[in-house]
């Protein structure tokens, strides 16, 4: 039943550009969609392992930079008179590079950070994102620093009968983000329903007990971190080729906060939570822009957030789907 409802929801979203071909609406939904993918990936860490990664935007930014740099090409000094030269690559390769680079850093951060958990993990993840922002600002040769990477090519896809087509139009990008979001959702669902997911649920509930039945705590946490980071990297790549400009602000703390808000209000540890929370808080700023005076917009946003957290502390989705627990 819920599967049917889910696919119906996806079908409705897919049909939307045909029914309402309004570029502004599609642009808003596309940006929200990219952050929802980020929120889906964060949920795997925050919701299922219980670890609050406040540097999640790091993986998003890494993906954006990796994908942009791979498609633009670069030529940097790497010491001892050697230079690393990469010619511009096709966008699909940039997309893969984003996933691999972000996933690799997810592994590294997981190995380092899961030795310490709780508050220390939060601090390490915050620092991690800040350090990356500083690197992006100052490694001008690679990242152009605050001048930003510009003229990033749009995403291109191979389409039967058409060959490679570059996605310039709003509806094309909308569909692309929707497709990746569905894939991310299905991947996380698969992980959560597998042995890994059961191990994560067991860990969150009772770590000493989980260890005593032989669950390798660090191993499973690192696996979750890698998958989560890889998905966030994919979202970053979509962002880079959609906005087509990447500057060090992709590492801003506020983007992490946005993703955390989406996950927590929607319902952490539920598959639909980040989607629902993401739609509510991803679209709210744009809805308010048309209806409320500028000075009131963020007051309403903040009040709504507080009300959600006060009255639905476990999130919107758990409140809708009442399960015995």
């Amino acid at each position: 039943m819920s599967t049917l409802l889910g696919w119906g929801f996806v079908a409705a979203l897919a049909a939307l550009p045909l029914l309402f071909p309004d570029p502004y609406l599609l642009a808003v939904l596309t940006s929200a969609g990219i952050f929802i993918i980020g929120a889906i990936s964060l949920n795997l860490l925050l919701g299922y392992t219980g670890q609050l990664s406040l540097g999640h935007v790091a993986f998003f930014g890494l993906g954006a930079y990796a994908s942009a740099l791979a498609t633009l090409g670069f030529d940097i000094a790497i010491g001892f008179g050697w230079r690393l030269v990469v010619a511009p690559q096709p966008v699909w390769l940039g997309f893969l590079a984003a996933i691999v680079v972000a996933g690799g850093f997810g592994w590294l951060l997981g190995r380092l950070a899961f030795r310490v958990r709780g508050a220390y993990f939060v601090i390490i993840t915050v620092c991690f994102a800040q350090v990356l922002r500083m690197v992006a600002l100052n490694w001008v040769e690679l990242t152009q620093g605050p001048m930003a990477l510009i003229s990033i090519p749009p995403f291109s896809l191979w389409w039967p009968g058409e060959g490679w087509i570059a996605l310039y139009r709003k509806d094309q990008n909308y569909w692309l983000v929707l497709a990746v979001a569905v894939l991310a959702f299905l991947l996380v669902r698969q992980v959560v329903r597998s042995r890994i997911g059961r191990a994560l649920v067991a860990l969150r509930a009772n770590e000493p007990l989980a260890r005593s039945v032989g669950i390798r705590v660090t191993h499973y946490l690192v696996v979750a971190a890698v998958i989560s980071a890889g998905i966030a990297g994919a979202a970053g790549s979509l962002f880079a080729h959609y906005v087509r400009i990447v500057d060090p602000d992709v590492f801003l703390f506020i983007y992490t906060v946005t993703m955390v808000i989406m996950v927590v209000t929607g319902g952490k540890g539920t598959l639909w939570g980040p989607v629902v929370g993401g739609l509510v808080f991803g679209l709210m700023p744009d809805l308010l822009r048309g209806t409320a005076p500028p000075e009131a917009q963020w007051i309403i946003y903040g009040t709504a957030m507080i009300l959600f957290v006060m009255f639905l502390p476990r999130g919107i989705v758990p409140a809708l789907v009442r399960r015995p627990s």
Binding site: V201, A202, P208, L209, R211, S212, V213, G214
Partner: protein
């Protein structure tokens, strides 16, 4: 079978065990008794690898196992039923049992053992699809014991199996512990209910502030005046 020689362990800078030496022989039922904070649970946690010993030697059949990760110690045949919340509340009864066999790869054997657990604890079969958190305290304890048995341990360690259970259930749990020993599994048990533990066990160790104060057979300790005074409420 299991031997601890001069084992110390602690939490951060606080030492909870000071040079504990004890032995569990094949097929025995050994009890650890003592007041709160005597180091009973810490002893079990150190044996199962949840805590690393700071000094001393832990051997299983002569092989050193001190400091190995819990997974490795479980694989060598020592299962631990920790104190506190004993089941994974959000997983179903069946999933909880499957967790106990996490390290095993013999599907047929696991399925057979699952069936055996259901036969032994019919309540668990009735509730196999239910979240373990919705079971009663007694049922959760049965589930915890069954889960520990699912790893086919040679030595099973119980931490306060009777804690928080109604008196009739306490009887039942002790009967199960006796049963497990009767089928050839060695048992090391921490128990607050010293009287019951001493009557049940072959041998016992009395711990106080992190070291072994007295040891002997259950009957010897029951007769010992300081055990009677301190733990059995004086003259009975």
């Amino acid at each position: 079978m299991l031997r601890l020689e001069g084992v110390s362990a602690g939490y951060g800078r606080i030492a909870a065990l000071a040079e504990v030496s004890l032995e569990v022989r094949e097929g025995e039922l050994v009890s650890l008794i003592g007041a709160n904070g005597a180091g009973k649970s810490t002893t079990l946690r150190t044996i199962s690898g949840l805590l690393k010993p700071t000094t001393g030697r832990i051997t299983l059949d002569g092989q050193a196992i001190g400091g190995l990760p819990p997974r490795e110690i479980l694989a060598r045949g020592i299962a631990h039923c920790p104190e506190g919340r004993r089941v994974f509340p959000h997983l179903s009864v069946r999933e909880n049992l499957a967790m106990g066999a996490l390290l095993r790869r013999d599907r047929a054997g696991i399925a057979g053992d699952l069936e055996a657990m259901y036969a032994r604890f019919p309540r668990l079969r009735e509730r196999s699809g239910q979240a373990a958190g919705t079971l009663s305290g007694g049922e959760q304890q049965m589930l915890a014991i069954a889960r520990a048995l699912m790893s086919r341990p040679r030595l099973i360690m119980f931490d306060e199996p009777s804690l928080g259970l109604a008196p009739s259930l306490v009887e039942q749990v002790f009967a199960i512990v006796r049963d497990i020993r009767a089928t050839g599994t060695t048992v090391l048990m921490v128990e607050q209910n010293a009287m019951a533990a001493l009557q049940l066990c072959d041998r016992a160790y009395l711990l106080e502030t992190g070291h072994v104060l007295r040891t002997g057979t259950g009957a010897e300790l029951l007769a010992s005046p300081d055990v009677r005074d301190a733990y059995l409420g004086g003259a009975i």
